[in-house]
Amino acid sequence: MTLRSALRSVGWLLVATSALSFAMSLIDYFTPENGIDGTSGVVLVVISTFLMLAASAAISSDFAHGWARTILTFLILLDVLGTGLAAYMLEASVLLGLMVTVLIAWLFGAFAGGQSRPPPSAEAMS
């Protein structure tokens, strides 16, 4: 599997899990009496998961190239870690589980590429 194809397949996995995370954060926001509904903390994860979804889609659809792709990949990692921390503090366990899944997908993509090819940024720029 080439890095590009690995990233592409992982990218779609990222899109899927990001979409699920976005949906979950919306559910958390609107579900009454769950302890966090309507709070600004959940608004934050709604925004962060939406950005995660957009960035994942940009990568997997080849919308972003070169350095933009590299930056987005890095930002997705930050987004996942930040959203995971927020989900932990919100005690939103499903969302936290999804963040773990997204992180695994991201790591899989990074390491799968790293074993056989140059780093993603180098490949993207070549």
Binding site: E33, N34, G35, I36, T39, S40, G41, V42, A86, M89, L90, E91
Partner: protein, 685 residues
């Protein structure tokens, strides 16, 4: 905003429309202002019965505690001795994790009131916010609970269906408090109820305007023979320094044929206030039997109150009414009350029949911090040195746990008079010493914990630099013109809920808050300006030479400047006075995020203990109710509810099934989340 108020106003209006006044058909009763019978009014949501059980015999409770599977909860504290102990045995540490809501209902009586109390911004826009701290009563095969709108609801104990509702149509104005408040209802029944006669069983509730209503417990109809048309207005006796009405927010204490009634007011607003009289009324007629006045006529010319605004305790074996009192007014300046007030900040034992003082013991001298003894004494028999001592335990806002002989007032453990910091405020004079028990150890340290590095960091070092400008010499450092760190303040230590006792082992469990405030006296000439700048934290003490500013010692984010935990749950062995365990309690939730468990949370409410070794408690600010293992303090169960539960749970058994019921109302002063949820938990069938 108007729409939201209209929505909030709509609930009680709907209720009133669907609950037509019931005619008085029974001799001895007058037309009811608002009595409703089944079916449930529209504003009360349909309850959710989870399961029912086969019929089981029910018996009226014994005067003190009840036993086994006939557990009732017939007073604010479960029993007259305020032990908060349930003998029920169905829910155990092994199965408590299976506990689920058996039913829940919503009363419709709550308000988030962006506006708050009288005189405060926006008050004219609608109903003030609500604080619901009622203990649901279970007695007479019925759950009785009163609401912050002063209605009484009678509810089926196994389904949550409404039996009847009574509405006194009280004005929903916060005339003496920042919010509308209720701590529940009280129950009385005749020693030998006459069949077919009304008002042989009566439920009482008070209003902020000072009316005490008596309602037939079976029908929901007004007991017309009680007071005037079913209500006693205690403000008929409010004739001295009546700058505000006496508010009946705490249900009366019922013993034999009497009701013991205390009241709350605006003690922070005036120097001269009504004297803190306790009234004893006839349970059936409302006639005044006796009253206890803690002030002399001369003192009434200069000060007021020493009232009892919380629950009271009865030692039925010895015919004693035990009350815990507040300071004279005003709260934070005592220059005009330097003489002796032996009944202030004291546990006072009164003869329940006559009202005569049997003994009293003052637990803070010349008090300047609003350290009213907010909880009522809990009765116990202590086994010490081979002897059984009839005792009581009195918790305090200072975090002290006083253990006294309940027949004499003498301390059971050493009670030392300790030298305390002295005032530098012109006109004031502080007591040279204060009584401090070190056995059992206090629930909070006696000096503010050091500044928390995180709060200091986030404030750019402001926590540390501000601290240097204040007096900070430990407990009893008096209020000052420069500002004094008061730790614990009047909102700290143990609040009105007190603790719970397992009388078999004398294990005492209590929740406590670790809070620091800055108390700053403001000379009268500067007060108007200070109030203009910071209305929320200033209190006028009109008639005194100083107003006062009370402000939490926090950084710009509102984060406490001192080290956590901010709330704890502690367990003591009262035979030895030893601390068994202590741990952080509750979780702070900010913007939806839960802060670390080790921080704990400010706590209002109280625990109950069951015979199987469980502690049930709401009392945290994170909208959760919990169960703990009594031996280890380990949390065994928790459940998310609609708002913080600032009330005492009730444990009861009906038709062979054990329930734990909570009134979930929130406290809008501490958290904007308020509710009207009444929920009962039980094991699945």
């Amino acid at each position: 905003m108007k729409g939201r108020y209209a929505l909030l106003l709509g609930a009680p209006l709907l209720l009133a429309q669907s609950a037509p006044d019931a005619p008085s058909a029974t001799p001895g009763t007058s037309p009811s202002p608002a009595v409703s019978a089944n079916p449930a009014p529209a504003a009360i949501s349909t309850p959710t019965p989870i399961a029912t059980n086969a019929a089981a015999p029910y018996s009226y409770p014994a005067p003190a505690s009840t036993t086994g599977d006939k557990q009732t909860w017939y007073t604010f504290n479960g029993d007259l001795g305020a032990q908060k102990f349930a003998t029920s045995s169905q829910i155990t540490p092994d199965n408590v994790s299976q506990l689920k809501p058996a039913w829940q209902m919503h009363t419709g009586d709550f308000s988030q009131g962006a506006a708050v109390g009288e005189g405060q911004a926006g008050h004219e826009h609608g109903i003030p916010a609500t604080v619901w701290s009622a203990t649901p009563l279970f007695v007479n095969d019925t759950i009785y609970v009163s609401t912050p709108f002063y209605r009484i609801l009678a509810v089926e104990p196994d389904t949550g269906k409404l039996k009847w509702a009574f509405d006194p149509h009280a004005k929903l104005e916060a005339v003496t408090q920042p919010d509308l408040k209720s701590r529940g209802a009280a129950y009385w029944q005749a020693a030998e109820p006459a069949a077919g006669q009304p008002c042989q069983k009566i439920v009482y509730t008070g209003t902020m305007q000072g009316k005490l209503w008596a309602i037939d417990a079976d029908t929901g109809r007004v007991c017309g023979g009680f007071g005037k048309d079913g209500a006693v207005d205690v403000n008929q006796w409010n004739t001295v320094n009546n700058v505000f009405p006496m508010s009946l927010l705490q249900p009366p204490t019922v013993y034999k044929d009497k009701l013991f009634v205390g009241w709350g007011g605006k003690d922070w607003a005036f120097a001269k206030t009504p004297p803190g009289v306790v009234f004893a009324l006839d349970a059936q007629t409302g006639a005044l039997k006796w009253q206890f006045d803690p002030l002399t006529p001369d003192q009434q010319k200069r000060t007021g109150k020493i009232n009892v605004w919380q629950s009271m305790t009865v030692d039925a074996d010895h015919g004693l009414l035990l009350i815990a009192t507040s300071p004279p007014s005003p709260d934070d300046y005592g220059g005009d009350r330097k003489d002796s007030y032996p009944y202030a900040n004291a546990v006072v034992a009164l003869n329940a029949e006559s009202g005569e003082v049997v003994w009293s013991r003052q637990l803070a001298h010349h008090e300047l911090w609003d350290y009213d003894l907010a909880s009522t004494p809990t009765l116990l028999d202590i086994n010490k040195d081979g002897q059984t001592i009839p005792a009581l335990v009195q918790t305090s806002k200072q975090g002290f746990i006083f253990v006294l002989n309940r027949l004499t007032g003498e301390p059971v453990f050493p009670l030392n008079e300790v030298k305390v910091p002295q005032t530098d405020v012109p006109g004031e004079a502080t007591a040279p010493t204060q009584p401090e028990p070190m056995i059992p150890p206090p629930t909070v340290p006696q000096k503010m914990p050091s500044v928390y590095w995180l709060a200091d960091l986030l404030s750019g070092g402001r926590c540390s630099s501000e601290l240097k400008g204040y007096r900070n010499e430990g407990i009893y450092t008096p209020p000052s013109l420069q500002g004094t760190i008061v730790y614990p303040p009047s909102t700290g230590g143990v609040e009105w809920g007190g603790g719970a006792l397992d009388p078999r082992s004398n294990t005492f469990v209590v929740n406590s808050s670790s809070v620091a405030f800055v108390y700053k006296l403001i000379p009268r000439k500067d007060y108007a300006e200070a109030e203009k700048e910071d209305r929320a934290d200033t209190y006028p003490q009109l008639g005194a030479p100083y107003g006062v500013q009370l402000k939490m010692f926090a950084n710009w984010l509102g984060m406490p400047c001192w080290k956590p935990p901010y709330g704890t749950l502690s367990s003591y062995n009262l035979n030895t006075g030893k601390l068994l365990w202590r741990q952080p309690f509750g979780e702070i939730q900010k913007y939806g995020f839960y802060m670390p468990y080790s921080w704990g949370t400010v706590t209002i409410g109280a625990p109950v203990i069951t015979s199987t070794g469980l502690i049930f408690i709401g009392a945290s600010m994170d909208s959760r109710v919990r169960a703990y293992d009594l031996k280890s303090g380990k949390q065994l169960w928790r459940w998310l509810v609609d708002a913080p539960t600032v009330s005492l749970p009730a444990v009861y058994t009906y038709k062979g099934r054990e329930y734990v019921a909570f009134a979930v109302g929130g406290n809008s002063i501490l958290s904007p989340k308020v509710s009207d949820q009444l929920v009962a938990f039980a094991l699945p069938q």
